[in-house]
Symmetry: C2
Subunit: 224 residues, 2 copies
DNA sequence: AATCCCCGAAATTTTGAAATTTCATTGCAA
DNA sequence: TTGCAATGAAATTTCAAAATTTCGGGGATT
């Protein structure tokens, strides 16, 4: 028995993000432990960490459960994600140099290569992990010059929770062709050092995951 | 042996925030376990969760360590905290009603009561926990109408890490009289629904924890 | 003197089982 | 029939010990 906790932790994270388990499904340490051929306690520790990241729900004496599908939750995660990304690009535009631009271009190149391949072959599942990693890298590269690691770390966990909600069998995988264009728009705006355009491009990229706004004109905004 | 993990988790969190352990100190599960009279494994689980919150450092096979004091880290935490708070107030101003205003006023009232008492008696340690809770409540109330629980949760953990860095024996406890005025300024700006003034008041409240800026005029911003 | 290697002590990680709590089912009474 | 209590099975939490890894101190070789 060697040290395999880090591996298993990452594998579990991937599973939760890539819909290996159903949303809302109960997850028993003993069952998962059997899959990985380790003891239940080892898995329990891993699951406690994953609940701290927001990928699992945990209640005392009641065990673990994959976070459930929820339009409201997806809306909140998306809003927060937009905030972090807009903040990240804005700071990067202010600080970043040629190095930053090069990293964005590189990340976008890899991403669009994978996206083109998906459009061609129609196979999403086979390269889903690669696409996930590439999209995360691209969005991280946007805030790569923000000089605020804590922002990137925060983004990572929010991004994971976002994917968890999006990549469920119920929802479409969201590999629409729009994505390719939207990513390009984001890249161009960032390279142009145009803060407003960047904000807008990010918003447009994510807005379809927001819930319809409650009518702003209604009186009861100030409910007591 | 009853269920006491939630208690111990909260106590440990308080200890880490209130300088019960030194920053950077090594923390052995077995030793802490002896203090609380539970087994080492129980504490280990708690510590794993606390490292996910960023209050402990954890390295495989090397155990746990209280996060060390670092000007750079405090700077980053502060910058991120400012981002979250400014975002929170801005959204609250847009959405909040009379209920929100009342909650801010209430939280500020409690906080200034404690701060006045501290100024009078000079005793900080005795009411440090109360002050912490009150200040957190106040800052949370600023974003109370933002309608984004995920933002509040994120702020809670960042605030905890901020306190951990600030409330160390080395640094002054930072219970300067300036605090009282600054809190008042923040409250007034929020009640005035003045976004710019709110942003400014929050920045002024926290800026002394930022590191001096590198000279913006220097050439090597674009270091390769 | 400096470096490397080996060994023992101490700490970390994993395990399997005991203790406790929750959950569902059945039986009893209103 | 409905509601409640009791019971037993299953799951969770805690524990203590075994297995593994790290850390540090000689001792031999260069």
């Amino acid at each position: 028995m060697k040290q395999q906790t880090p591996d298993i932790l990452q594998q579990m994270r991937d599973r939760l993000i890539m819909a290996h388990y159903r949303l809302g499904q109960k997850l028993r340490p003993s069952e998962v432990a059997a899959e990985f051929e380790v003891s239940a306690n080892t898995i329990r520790e891993i699951m406690l960490r994953l609940s701290a990241e927001g990928l699992l729900d945990y209640e005392d004496q009641r065990g673990f459960r994959v976070v459930g599908a929820s339009d409201r939750l997806l809306h909140e995660i998306t809003e927060f994600r937009i905030v972090l990304e807009q903040c990240g690009v804005e700071r990067s535009i202010a600080r970043g140099g040629i190095e930053w631009e090069a990293q964005m271009a590189a990340a976008h190149h890899k991403l669009s290569h994978i996206e083109a391949r998906i459009r061609r072959t129609g196979d999403v599942v086979g390269v889903l992990k690669h696409w996930n990693d590439a999209e995360l890298d691209f969005h991280l590269s946007l805030m790569g010059a923000a000089d605020l690691p804590i922002l990137q770390q925060s983004f990572r966990t929010v991004y994971a929770r976002f994917r968890q909600q999006i990549v469920s069998p119920e929802r479409s995988y969201a590999h629409r062709e729009g994505n390719i264009i939207e990513h390009q728009r984001i890249l161009e705006a960032a390279l142009d050092r145009d803060v407003a355009a960047s904000h807008d491009a990010i918003y447009r990229h994510l807005r379809r995951n927001l819930m319809p706004e409650p009518d702003a004109r209604s009186e009861d905004t100030m409910t007591a």
